[in-house]
């Protein structure tokens, strides 16, 4: 085909472009008036020069908006520090999971081992009405709650470009909130009034602990989704002699601060959410939600089960050490009495129970007194609970879990 056919064709974009170019270079037509006036001896001034005013100097206004703007994050920020602080938040995980958590917190682990008193209490059977309540709570959280939020996109690995219709449903955050609050309500309703009077329950409180390890500053910022506190310190009696502890591992060649981003904006003190003049300040049990849509690795790899277990340990350490620092002062190293904190982590189906014994705030090296983490992991509350072709189902409810939750509350 001849190229000229295409070039002859009318193209409106091309036409417009050309037209714009031509019109943009318009030359004023000389009407001869200027020449004529000059001959007559009349001075001609440029009209634009005549009209032009001198630019007025104005002061810069500080505009008051509807709210105070946050300060820019630069070196003048009041929280800016020269020394970087390696930060672990509640939405990030440690690369090496529980092993790295052990190194960071100088903790030995007693796997699958809880204090005998807890095991005793957990073995007590609850009445049927309570288990019916738990089943109701599970169904409420997974099926009957009315939240309709966009759930994560469904992907088919065989054909990754295929777009499935978006599913609306209960988000993992809401599911965990409903389930854990209901379970705790049930435990409290079935407990004696004397026990519940001495406890206090807080939702979504933040807790921060800051410590040195090998001349580096590390902070854990955590949110306790439910924090049960009591008016006297939690005590556990455990015979440590025959327990095969898992010692602190060597992470070489990995450094213990790996995957912790360094931050320059931080507070230099730890923060425990309850003031020291309150009587019910002693931490008792903390509930941690694992919301898969919110918790991520630094470089977006999927979170592994080991990393999830690591969250429990760092979370319990955060609560216990923040409290210990409030109680004994920031600079304390070895504690006169251990601080115990119970921790329950759940993703709505799996429950990880743990008890943290904080003996020392000195986390340097691997020698000397160590902290202890007793845990019982990966207990399933049920196999599945959802709409199965239009019918709400709850498969394989496991009554054992309620026993543990009850034991943790009442110990």
């Amino acid at each position: 085909m001849k190229l000229s056919r295409v070039l002859y064709a009318q193209h409106i974009g091309f036409m417009f472009k050309k037209h714009w170019v031509i019109q943009g270079k318009r030359v004023p037509i000389d009407s001869g008036v200027e020449q004529y006036l000059k001959e007559k001896g009349i001075n001609v001034e440029d009209a634009l020069e005549f009209v032009k005013e001198k630019p007025e100097l104005r002061e810069r206004l500080d505009i008051v908006g509807p709210y105070e703007r946050p300060l820019p994050l630069d070196q003048n920020h009041p929280n800016y520090k020269e020394k970087p602080c390696y930060t672990l938040s509640n939405t990030s995980v440690l690369l090496e999971g529980i092993c790295q958590a052990q190194v960071l917190t100088k903790t030995v682990i007693a796997e699958d081992k809880l204090p005998p008193r807890i095991e005793e209490l957990a073995a007590l059977s609850a009445p049927k009405a309570i288990h019916d309540g738990v089943k109701k709570a599970i169904l409420s959280a997974n099926v009957f709650d009315c939240q309709q939020k966009k759930l994560p996109k469904k992907k088919d690995l065989e054909r990754p470009a295929y777009n499935f219709p978006r599913i609306l449903g209960i988000s993992d955050r809401r599911r965990n909130e409903v389930l854990t609050n209901r379970l705790l309500q049930l435990v409290e309703k079935s407990s004696d009034t004397d026990v519940t009077c001495n406890k206090y329950i807080l939702n979504d409180v933040d807790c921060t602990t800051l410590f040195d390890k090998e001349e580096e500053l590390i902070q854990f910022q955590d949110i306790s989704n439910i924090l049960v506190t009591s008016n006297k310190p939690l005590k556990h009696e455990i015979d440590n002699e025959d327990i095969p502890f898992i010692g602190i591992p060597d992470l070489y060649p990995i450094k213990h601060t790996i995957s912790l981003p360094a931050q320059h904006f931080y507070d230099e003190s730890s923060k425990y959410p309850i003031r020291s003049n309150i009587s019910v300040k002693y931490p008792h049990t903390t509930w941690l939600h694992y919301n898969p849509t919110e918790v991520n690795n630094l470089y977006e790899e999927p979170v592994t089960p080991i990393q999830v277990l690591g969250r429990s340990l760092t979370h319990a350490f955060t609560i216990a050490s923040a409290f210990a620092k409030q109680l004994y002062g920031e600079e304390t190293k070895d504690l006169p009495e251990p601080v115990y904190v119970n921790c329950i982590q759940t993703d709505g189906q799996r429950f990880h129970f743990g008890i943290f014994e904080l003996n020392t705030l000195n986390v340097e090296g691997t020698e000397g007194p160590k902290n202890v983490w007793y845990c019982k992991n990966d207990l399933k509350l049920y196999d599945s609970s959802r709409y199965l072709s239009g019918i709400p189902v709850l498969e394989n409810y496991n009554p054992q879990i309620y026993g543990y939750i009850n034991a943790f509350y009442n110990c």
């Binding site: 099926v143 609306l168 309850i274 003031r275 239009g390």
Partner: protein, 549 residues
């Protein structure tokens, strides 16, 4: 709009030919009676025919078996949803009380104390108050001063509202926890009740008896046959949306405060408010009508006992509205919230805005910011307010409400000064009010075996209805935008006919109202050939199971 495909169209000669072979049925022997029985003479006027048409729709919805089908049935006439008047829980206009009262058909009674029904719990409540007094004081101090939460520094109206709402949320959770833990072993209904945090409450109903909007009158003016019917009443769809802080619900309903026959007492008559809701400030949006009392159908605890609401929105109102109007706004919020929740519950019992409840339902509502607290007791007697029922419905709903009381005088040196025990007692009395088994049938309009779609045996129908119902209730926007008349069209095509030479293709040029489209007026989803049953299936489209109303 969419022509029905596949329908055989017979030509006129063929029809005549068919008729030739029609046979006369043999007369039955008992066709004759001693006295002649004539069919009822029906009013043949247009109004009467239209009314019969509407009533058949009401009956069709009543005869549907399941809750969800009834809800889809309510939405069947409108593909793009109803133009709903937005009744939000925390958005109350100036001087809205007459409108809210009329739209919820509620007689409001201001009282200083709770209705007589609560006197029976007086003694036990006093003893409980004595036990929990110190705990409540502690929790108020802790929530106000004892915690290091992230401070909200925003001092604007929105910021203050946020701050107050979050504080009230925390205090309400604590107070609820303390009371429930104390009375769990004293009264049996608490253990079996469910406590919801931040549930979603939505309710939908039709309101007749309001003025016809000017827009509708203008529309009607263009048709000659509507000349005498310009002001014929219409139904206004109303949608309530709200989110309480905390609710408690049980599998049994509360007892009514006053006998059901008292509902017809002319003393409780509500003043008419016929001005269009836009004149008060209530706007309209297109959406499907939803009735959600905080859970999906199938949960057994379907009767509400108590709900707590926040009152931060009062801070956001204009200062010029004054204290009296702020007080009325609280009453309005209580009426809206109580009516909305009860209506949604009634819908789960099989009643709809077209089919009135056959027994009263009650609820208790508390509005608080952690310091001020007001109590409302609401009895729902009627839910039909559509244009056919509004004039001749003798029943009214009743709301007893108090003014906001101070829960305590002030906080000083980490101590609560002057805790108001009478107020606390009222709150405890709300908890002690036990639900009871009713002697009548609770779900007369639902099927015997099928009450929710989970009971349906046909797998395809159940799954289809389930997904359709949830999708409708989510009110997610459609893939295609709503039909509209563009501004240039309005100017150059409607107001000034400057483009008469163009082909007439747009709906307004063809005299079509695109919003008058039924929910099932669409092609069902296509079955790709590979997925059709083997060996050979002519069925191109999936079956739909829309209820027939």
């Amino acid at each position: 709009m969419l022509a029905l495909r596949g329908q055989r169209i017979l030509s006129k000669p063929k029809l005549l030919a068919l008729r030739k072979y029609a046979q006369v049925a043999l007369p039955e022997e008992n066709e004759y009676t001693d006295t002649p029985v004539y069919p009822d003479i029906q009013d043949a006027s247009l109004q009467a025919r239209k009314l019969r048409e509407r009533e058949s729709v009401y009956a069709n919805i009543r005869n549907l078996n399941t809750v969800e089908e009834k809800q889809i049935g309510l939405n069947m006439p409108r593909y793009y949803g109803w133009p709903c008047v937005q009744f939000k829980e925390d958005h109350i206009m100036y001087n809205a009380m007459p409108l809210v009262q009329y739209y919820t058909r509620t007689y409001f009674k201001t009282t200083d104390k709770l209705p007589e029904h609560y006197n029976q719990f007086s003694e036990i409540a006093s003893s409980i108050v004595n036990e929990i007094k110190s705990l409540i004081e502690d929790c108020i101090v802790i929530e106000n001063e004892g915690l290091k939460r992230n401070p909200l520094t925003d001092e604007s109206k929105e910021g203050l509202q946020q701050k107050e709402d979050s504080l009230s949320k925390n205090i309400v959770r604590q107070i609820n926890r303390i009371i429930i833990n104390n009375i769990a072993d004293k009264v049996p209904h608490i253990l079996s009740s469910q406590v919801d945090y931040d549930p979603k409450h939505e309710a939908f109903w039709f309101m007749g008896g309001t003025d016809v909007p000017a827009k509708v009158v203008n529309w009607r003016k263009q048709f000659a046959w509507l000349k005498d019917r310009l002001h014929e009443p219409i139904d206004r769809p109303i949608q309530y949306t709200g989110s309480p802080i905390l609710t408690i619900r049980n599998h049994l309903p509360l007892k009514p405060f006053i006998p059901y026959n008292e509902a017809e007492n002319p003393e409780f008559k509500v003043e008419k408010f016929t001005y269009v809701p836009e004149s008060v400030g209530y706007g309209v949006t297109f959406r499907h009508g939803t009735n959600i009392p905080g859970f999906w159908p199938g949960d057994l605890d379907e009767f509400g006992l108590l709900s707590y609401h926040k009152r931060g929105h009062i801070l956001k109102r204009n200062e010029h509205f004054g204290t009296l109007d702020n007080l009325e706004a609280l009453h309005c919020q209580a009426m809206k919230a109580s009516f909305g929740w009860l209506l949604a519950q009634a819908n789960y019992q099989g009643f709809t805005t077209y089919n009135d409840i056959t027994y009263p339902l009650t609820t208790q509502t508390v509005i608080t910011n952690g310091h001020l607290i007001s109590f409302y007791a609401y009895q729902l007697n009627t839910i039909t307010m559509n244009r056919d029922k509004i004039e001749n419905n003798p029943k009214h709903n009743i709301c007893f409400g108090t003014k906001p009381f101070l829960l305590y005088e002030k906080l000083e040196n980490g101590k609560v000064m002057g805790l108001n025990e009478d107020v606390l007692k009222m709150l405890v009395q709300f908890y002690l009010n036990a639900p009871e088994e009713r002697e009548h049938e609770l779900k007369p309009y639902l099927g015997k075996e099928e009450q929710v779609i989970a009971d349906i045996e046909d797998d395809n129908k159940r799954c289809w209805l389930e997904s359709r119902y949830k999708h409708l209730m989510s009110n997610t926007p459609r893939h295609n935008l709503l039909p509209e008349v563009y501004h240039w069209e309005k100017i150059y095509k409607i107001q000034h006919k400057t483009r008469f030479f163009e082909a007439k293709r747009r709906p307004f040029e063809l005299g079509i109202n695109p919003f008058k489209r039924r929910l099932d007026d669409h092609l069902p989803s296509y079955i790709p050939k590979v997925l059709r049953p083997y060996p050979r299936s002519k069925k191109k489209f999936e079956t739909t199971y829309y209820p027939k109303v």
